[in-house]
Symmetry: C3
Subunit: 265 residues, 3 copies
């Protein structure tokens, strides 16, 4: 049997409109054996950084050869380029605005292409919906084995998403909130190994306009009492601030992009 | 390889309940090789016109032979008929209340059937959920190649959804709002070619109780400034009122069914 | 052709985060021919009973051999065991907290296993996300035909969800609300045959803090007038309180777990 032809979709389209299903119809029309998997369509509207984070979190779990489409595309229909990034593991298809690059850079990038050939787009390309008219058919043709050079010229410079760099001293580390998940867990950009260097059983955490807050460090949510806050290394190997069976983001009024500051108690 | 057996689902069931997954289980029990694609399950409850619009928007992008199930069915369990509509391109399965017909009439209708044979329904048909007990198994049997005449007698009269006709003069055109999408874009029933006849770079738009509003006509959302309103031809070839990276429906307090009036400035 | 390899997913993860898609990537990495179907990811956070209800409602509609994963897991990362339950019809994979057992007990249970073998888990098992690191790969290996004894030792005692027993007399029956669906329909734990024993065309219903309410019994929602309340046997063969084209849970301020009392008028 051939290896499965998996394509994932990430967007800010939501699920009430026909948009996502139109993209799926186009993929299946080009490659009838495609296996289509939704990553999410509930990226905050126009939030390219959040789309980049969600795609980068998910892509490592997919089989070699998977094609990932991401469409968070506030400047659709203007000059921004449609691109393909080929890595050792996957193909990424979407706009050249950074949404693909956090995921792609975590793998070994082999080549990047500016999609120019109209042969691999729908006959009529609208100015408002390149997800359906450009990215979906391009992904279908990639699954069908069309080689990269046919889509357009190689490129070397692309837009990359900028996240706040973490800053650390012996006593503290500062970073930012990457994402607030549906449980209200606050996922920071502080990597596990930096957080674990503290080797403390408690930390002071300061977030956005909040006063510093004393918090236990633990291994699992349920290591603290019901409704108690806890700092731990989450499933993505970043420091996460949570409340056991509660909503940390609501409790601390925190959102993506806010600053986070950790220090010894 | 056989051609793929694609079935799409459109409903107002939402995603928190077991209903959609029960339908999928029934489809897979009848036709284990079915490829099931959700169009949306977030049609406004009981809003047959919106379901009809979403299905009609999406169906043209699917491969020949696709079976489309739509279940927005406020009168389930009463006398309304379950029907199949076969067109040149697809099969449509659902209640005879108009939800299928906007999509079906856009393709060439070959025949319509009243589904009567209990052989293709689940053994026990509930009075509240024909999606699972009638439409899902009927779709599975269609995918398996059961011929149309086996399901029930041919019919010629079915219920059709009524949308406001557009009215135009040299100076103006009036229509209605078909759908407000998740971005807040206002999709009207004014076709691209009527809108483009104006060949203006700006229009006056009057919506519902709003005062007339002067608006640029453009090609892409990002052709106007951030938060500025814009009239353009959307991806479905209808006139759309949007706000660049903002929510037009919220700004203008507009909802599906509201009237729209365009005139020269 | 081999029988299809179907795996369903039930969780409280929501759809905005990468979690569900990470699980799907892991399943497809282990078993590339898996057919993945979402039951729902919108179980109320940490509500094991609601997860159990939704899974038990849906599982009977799936083909023999289906693997059902359910992850509503408030005590992830603590001592609670990962388990597999094999029944005559299906396999159930998830935490030993009751979420699987309402569905499993409705089928004939053949054996239960405590998953201990690290061979069938991801190399690194996080303390916060066993859905991805344990249950998804275990399900993939089950689909690949790994036999039950390889996963870990047989067990006989597991946690079971407790629902209120119904109490009936000749004149009345009391129970509880199992689930409020997205339409606002109130699904009780009173089985069809108990409800139908009343053989009345009307009942008095008392819910939570509400005063007793006189209500018609009917066959279909549309058997009563628009916005009129109705008691009927729903599609899951339980007594359901609805409002024709309205929201009964909002009208009566009722939620899952509330008590319900039915009597003759």
């Amino acid at each position: 049997m051939d290896s499965p032809k998996i394509v994932t979709l990430t967007s800010d389209f939501g699920l009430k409109d026909p948009y996502v299903a139109e993209m799926k119809g186009v993929v299946l029309s080009v490659c009838p054996t495609a296996i289509i998997v939704d990553i999410t369509h509930e990226v905050e509207k126009f939030n390219v950084r959040e789309g980049a984070f969600v795609l980068a979190s998910t892509a490592p779990y997919y089989p070699k050869g998977t094609v990932h489409i991401a469409v968070v595309d506030p400047t659709v229909g203007t000059g921004r380029r449609p691109i393909i990034v080929e890595t050792e593991d996957s193909f990424f298809v979407g706009p050249d605005n950074g949404v693909l690059m956090l995921a792609a850079e975590a793998q070994h990038i082999k080549q990047m292409r500016h999609v120019e050939s109209r042969r691999f787009m729908r006959p009529h390309v609208s100015n408002t919906f390149h997800g359906r008219d450009v990215f979906a058919p391009v992904a279908g043709h990639l699954l069908n084995g069309v080689s990269l050079e046919e889509f357009g010229p190689q490129i070397t410079e692309v837009v990359k998403p900028k996240f706040v760099q973490i800053t650390r001293s012996e006593e503290s580390v500062s970073g930012e909130v990457l994402h607030v998940d549906d449980f209200g867990n606050i996922i920071t950009n502080i990597p596990a190994k930096v957080a674990l260097d503290f080797t403390l059983d408690a930390v002071m955490v300061e977030m956005a306009a909040q006063k510093p807050f004393h918090m236990k460090m633990a291994r699992a949510y349920a290591d603290v009492k019901h409704n108690e806050p806890v700092a731990l290394v989450g499933s993505h190997s970043y420091l996460e601030i949570a409340v056991n069976q509660g909503n940390a983001a609501a409790k601390f009024s925190v959102k993506a992009g806010d600053s986070v500051f950790l220090s010894k108690p």
